[in-house]
C-alpha cells in the first residue's frame, strides 16, 4: 500500500510543555485514518504541524511526497482542512465564502464555479448556499466548512474533531457525509476525534496519549490487543456458582447478581459454560470495545495540556 503521509520523530513544545514528543506513523492513501486521544494528547498540535500552520521543533514529515517545511506551498495545494472552530466569514453567504477561498488555489473563472458547485454538492450545502454563514445551524456550518475544505479537491482531507459540539443527530449526519465522501472519492481522510464510535469506523487508528503514540493499528487489532472479551453470567443460585468458580480458580467480579469474567479469547467462554451447565440462568459474551482500548491505554494520563487548540 502506498503511503501518503509519513511522519518521523515529529516534536513540538510550547514553552516547557512538550505537546508532541517524537511521534512516528504513516497514513495509507485512500484510507480513513483516525487520530484518537484524550484532550491535550497533542492531536491538534500534530494536525497544525502537518497543515503547515506551525513549525515542528524536530522530526520530519512527508505529505503526498512533499517535505514538510521545505515544500509547504505544494503541501497546501494537496490538503484541505476542516478546523475545530468555524473558519468562514459569518456575514458572507456560503457561496461567497467558497468562491473567496477557491480563488486561493488559482483557478480560472469557469473552473471556479464548477469547483464550488461540486464541493457544495458533495458536502450537501446546496440548500443553504446563498444564506449567510453566520445564520446557519451548527450542523449546516460544519458542512459548509467541509465544502470549503473540498473546494480544490484535495488529496488529503484533515478534519480536526469534526463532530465535537454537535447534537447526536447532526453529528451522525456530518459523520455520514464524511464517510460517504471518503468511500466515493477515495480521498485520504485524516481525522482527530475522541469519540470511540468514530474511531472504530476508521481503517487505521493511532492512539495518542501525552504527546506519544500509545498504540496503532486497525480498530480490530487494537481491540484484540488492548481490550478483553467478557463473559457475564447470571446464575440460578449464587452460592453454588461462586463455589464452582473458586473450584476452577476463575477470577470474577460480581455486581447485582451478575458475574463478570475476563476471557483471553472469545471461545474460552464455551468450555466454562459447558461445565457450569444448568447452574447458569442466562449469559452474554461481550466483545472488547474501543472504549476499553481507550481507557486501558490512556488510563491515568488524562491531564489537560495547554496548547491543544
Amino acid at each position: 500500500m502506498e503511503k501518503i503521509i509519513e511522519v518521523h520523530g515529529l516534536q513540538k513544545s510550547f514553552g516547557k510543555v512538550q505537546a508532541v514528543c517524537g511521534i512516528e506513523f504513516c497514513v495509507e492513501r485512500g484510507k480513513l485514518f483516525a487520530f484518537l486521544g484524550p484532550n491535550g494528547a497533542g492531536k491538534s498540535t500534530t494536525i497544525d504541524m502537518l497543515c503547515t500552520l506551525s513549525r515542528p521543533d524536530g522530526g520530519s514529515a512527508l505529505i503526498d511526497g512533499y517535505e514538510l517545511g521545505k515544500e509547504d506551498g505544494q503541501i497546501r495545494k494537496s490538503i484541505g482542512v476542516v478546523f475545530q472552530d468555524s473558519m468562514l466569514d459569518p456575514l458572507l453567504t456560503v457561496r461567497e465564502n467558497l468562491m473567496t477561498r477557491a480563488r486561493f488555489y488559482g483557478m480560472g473563472r469557469r473552473e471556479l464555479r464548477a469547483a464550488v458547485r461540486t464541493a457544495a454538492g458533495t458536502a450537501d450545502v446546496l440548500e443553504f448556499l446563498d444564506r449567510p454563514y453566520g445564520k446557519l445551524s451548527g450542523g449546516q456550518r460544519r458542512r459548509a466548512d467541509i465544502a470549503r475544505a473540498l473546494v480544490h479537491t484535495p488529496k488529503i482531507l484533515f478534519l480536526d474533531e469534526p463532530t465535537t459540539g454537535l447534537d447526536p443527530r447532526t453529528k451522525e449526519g456530518v459523520w455520514r457525509t464524511i464517510t460517504e465522501l471518503q468511500r466515493r472519492t477515495g480521498m485520504t481522510v485524516f481525522l482527530t476525534t475522541h469519540y470511540m464510535e468514530e474511531a472504530a469506523a476508521a481503517d487505521h487508528i493511532v492512539l495518542l496519549a501525552g504527546g506519544k503514540v500509545a498504540a496503532m493499528g486497525t480498530p480490530y487489532d487494537l481491540q484484540e490487543r488492548y481490550s478483553s472479551d467478557r463473559l457475564c453470567v447470571k446464575p440460578k443460585k449464587k452460592d453454588e456458582f461462586v463455589e464452582f468458580l473458586i473450584e476452577r480458580g476463575v477470577p470474577f467480579t460480581e455486581k447485582a447478581g451478575v458475574f463478570t469474567m475476563k476471557l483471553r479469547h472469545t471461545v474460552d467462554a464455551l468450555p466454562l459454560l459447558q461445565q457450569a451447565g444448568d447452574r447458569v440462568e442466562s449469559f452474554e459474551v461481550l466483545h472488547g470495545s474501543m472504549e476499553d482500548v481507550f481507557l486501558n491505554l490512556t488510563g491515568g494520563t488524562f491531564q489537560e495540556v495547554d496548547g491543544d487548540a
Binding site: T52, S54, Q74, R76, D85, L92, R101
Partner: protein, 284 residues
C-alpha cells in the same frame, strides 16, 4: 490579492454598524461645529464678510483630512479580528502567498478610507451649501480629488503601522477610540493652530496627518479666502492663514504644497515598510 481585498471589503460593508461608526466621527465633528464651535470662531472675525462659508470650508477640509485615519482604523479591524478569531489559519493553510494576504488587508483599508473621505467631502460640501457658502470650483475640486488618494495613502499606512502591533480586538478598539479623539486635536481641526500654545503648535505641525490638512486647506480655502479678504492687506491674509493652519511656518521656513506632498509620500514609505515587516514575520 484582489480576491482577498474583495473579501475584506465585503466583510466590512456587510457590517452596517461598522460602516456607520466609521462615518460617525465625521458626522460628529460637523455636528459639533454646527452646534457650538462655529459661532465661537466666527465671532473672532466680525469684520470679515462671508466668514461663515470660509470657516465651514476650513472645518470640512480638516475633517476630510482625518477621515482616512478613523475609517482605515475601522477597516483594519478585520485584520485584528481575523487574527484573534484565528480565521487566518484557514488562509495560512492555503497556497496563497503571505504578501497577498497582507496586501489584501492594506489595499481594502485604503479603498475604504478613500471612499469614506470622498463621502466626507460630499457631506461637507452639502453642509457648506446649506449654510450659504459656495461649493468648490471645478479647479479646486480637481486638485482636492488628487490630494485625497495621497493623503489617504499616508494616513492608511500610518494606521497600518499602528495596527500591526495589536493582537486583541478589545485593546485595538480602545486604542482606536483614543486615536479617534486625539486625532482632531493633533491635526488642529477642533481648535485652530493659532489658539494653541507654542509647544502644541509644534506637535501639530510635525504630525504627518496635519500635512494632509494643510494641503487640503490651501486648496479648498483659496477661493473663499480671496473673497473674504478682498482688499485686505497681504499681512492680514497671511496672519489668518498661519493662525488657521493653512500655512505652517517652521522658524523661517514656510511649507508650501510641494513640501506637504513630499512629507505625505515620505511618511507613507516610512511607515509602510516596518508595518509590512511587522505583520509578515508573525506566524499565525
Amino acid at each position: 490579492m484582489l480576491n482577498f481585498t474583495q473579501r475584506n471589503l465585503k466583510v466590512f460593508f456587510r457590517q452596517k454598524s461598522a460602516v456607520f461608526f466609521s462615518l460617525l466621527g465625521v458626522i460628529l465633528v460637523i455636528g459639533l461645529y454646527v452646534l457650538f464651535l462655529g459661532d465661537v470662531w466666527i465671532r473672532n472675525f466680525p469684520e470679515i464678510q462671508g466668514a461663515k462659508g470660509l470657516m465651514g470650508t476650513w472645518v470640512i477640509a480638516g475633517i476630510v483630512s482625518i477621515t482616512p485615519v478613523t475609517t482605515a482604523m475601522g477597516a483594519f479591524e478585520a485584520m485584528v479580528q481575523d487574527r484573534s478569531r484565528k480565521l487566518n489559519r484557514d488562509f495560512l493553510a492555503s497556497p496563497v502567498q503571505r504578501w497577498k494576504l497582507v496586501g489584501g488587508y492594506v489595499f481594502s483599508a485604503y479603498l475604504v478610507a478613500l471612499l469614506m473621505s470622498l463621502v466626507a467631502l460630499a457631506l461637507g460640501e452639502l453642509y457648506i451649501l446649506s449654510c450659504g457658502g459656495k461649493v468648490l470650483a471645478s479647479g479646486a475640486l480637481g486638485k482636492t480629488l488628487l490630494i485625497l488618494p495621497l493623503s489617504t495613502l499616508a494616513s492608511s499606512t500610518m494606521v497600518f503601522f499602528f495596527v500591526s502591533f495589536f493582537q486583541s480586538p478589545a485593546a485595538f478598539s480602545t486604542a482606536s477610540t483614543v486615536i479617534g479623539t486625539l486625532i482632531g486635536f493633533l491635526t488642529g481641526i477642533y481648535l485652530p493652530l493659532g489658539s494653541l500654545p507654542e509647544a502644541v503648535r509644534w506637535v501639530v505641525k510635525l504630525f504627518p496627518v496635519s500635512h494632509a490638512g494643510a494641503l487640503l486647506r490651501q486648496v479648498m480655502l483659496e477661493a473663499p479666502t480671496a473673497e473674504c479678504f478682498a482688499g485686505a492687506p497681504e499681512a492680514a491674509v497671511r496672519d489668518f492663514q498661519e493662525s488657521m493652519g493653512v500655512l505652517y511656518r517652521y522658524g523661517d521656513f514656510t511649507a508650501g504644497p510641494f513640501t506637504h506632498v513630499l512629507v505625505l509620500l515620505g511618511v507613507s514609505i516610512l511607515f509602510f515598510l516596518p508595518a509590512w515587516w511587522n505583520v509578515s514575520r508573525k506566524k499565525s
